[in-house]
């Protein structure tokens, strides 16, 4: 009984930060706000059980949200800077020169890392949804996602940062920054 109370307490505190939104047996998606009003015990009884219990899955979920919001924020900024194309080459070129500055190059690493993680973890979520035994390997897949993110991030980071040190692996850096 004590173990169940502790578990329910853990589930309750994790409720808002749940790995995946609560899944109802009869109505898997929708009416979330109603589901959230139910107590953990009620959810347990009706077969709504969360997949993550504050372990790696919780981190994968949190990272997915944070990276998603970061990429969306950049996307809105990016739409605005692309809109400057409509005001001629002087204004546009002047504005996008900002992206060549070293602090912005560093910031763009966060964007690249976020896109890579969100893409690979998105594939993991789809595998959990569509592959019948995907949920059994969610943790292993999370480590694969992290590995792929790091492995693909490092060479891209080199290409983004090298021009700061006057090395141009792309061979087409603007003369002004070299």
């Amino acid at each position: 009984v004590a173990a169940r109370i502790i578990e329910d307490a853990a589930v309750f505190t994790a409720r808002r930060d749940d790995g995946v939104r609560p899944v109802h047996r009869h109505h898997p998606i929708g009416s979330t706000s109603d589901l959230y009003r139910r107590t953990p015990r009620q959810q347990q009884r009706s077969g709504e059980v969360r997949m993550y219990r504050g372990q790696s899955g919780q981190w994968s979920w949190l990272l997915h949200r944070v990276t998603g919001m970061g990429v969306l924020l950049f996307l809105l900024v990016h739409i605005v800077d692309i809109t400057l194309l409509g005001f001629g080459p002087t204004i546009y070129n002047d504005a996008i020169n900002v992206f060549s500055l070293w602090p912005i190059r560093l910031a763009s690493l966060a964007l690249i890392g976020s896109v890579l993680y969100h893409a690979f973890n998105g594939a993991r979520i789809i595998l959990i949804d569509f592959w019948a035994s995907g949920y059994k390997y969610q943790q292993a897949m999370f480590y694969i996602v992290l590995g792929l993110t790091i492995v693909s991030f490092i060479p891209m980071a080199y290409y983004v940062l090298a021009p700061i040190f006057h090395v141009c692996p792309q061979h087409n850096c603007a003369p002004a920054i070299m």
Partner: protein, 150 residues
């Protein structure tokens, strides 16, 4: 419905072959849109990053670069698809996050309406730029020309 051993107890997870939504409503459409647009975006976004940061340096992606690129309608379509899917995938994600944190009916309606208007505004901004871009012509000239044709 799959079962999974969690600790000493066996629990229903709801994950596995039957976890997909079954209705035909808005939330089901949203669920599928996330996954279908997500698969497309994995390729669209990563290829876009590789072109803009690896095969070219950002400092080379100036007005002349865009002019050369947009001479080919393929890249306009590519960017239009990337813009549309990424924007609606992202703002729909923000709607899901709102669902988790904003419970009261009024504020919820306000936030979600704002998200919808933001999506529409930025989509129009991006789409007008991608479609009307023509080297040596401003967006105002393009839009005036379009109105003149009507």
């Amino acid at each position: 419905m799959a079962t999974q051993a969690a600790g000493e107890r066996t629990v229903l997870t709801g994950y596995g072959a039957t976890a997909r939504p079954t209705g035909m409503g808005w939330e089901t459409f949203s669920w599928w849109f996330f996954r279908v647009s997500g698969v497309a975006l994995i390729f669209l976004a990563i290829i876009h990053l590789l072109i803009m940061h690896v095969t070219n340096d950002v400092s080379a992606t100036n007005y002349q670069f865009v002019a050369q690129r947009y001479a080919n309608p393929f890249w306009r379509l590519y960017d239009l698809l990337l813009l549309t899917l990424a924007l609606f995938h992202g703002l729909n994600g923000l709607r899901i996050i709102t669902d988790d944190y904003v419970k009261a009916r009024g504020p919820r309606l306000a936030v979600i309406s704002t998200l919808f208007i933001t999506a529409l505004f930025f989509w129009l901004l991006g789409t007008i730029t991608i479609i009307t871009f023509h080297p040596g012509q401003t967006v105002t000239q393009a839009l005036l020309g379009f109105l003149h044709h009507l």
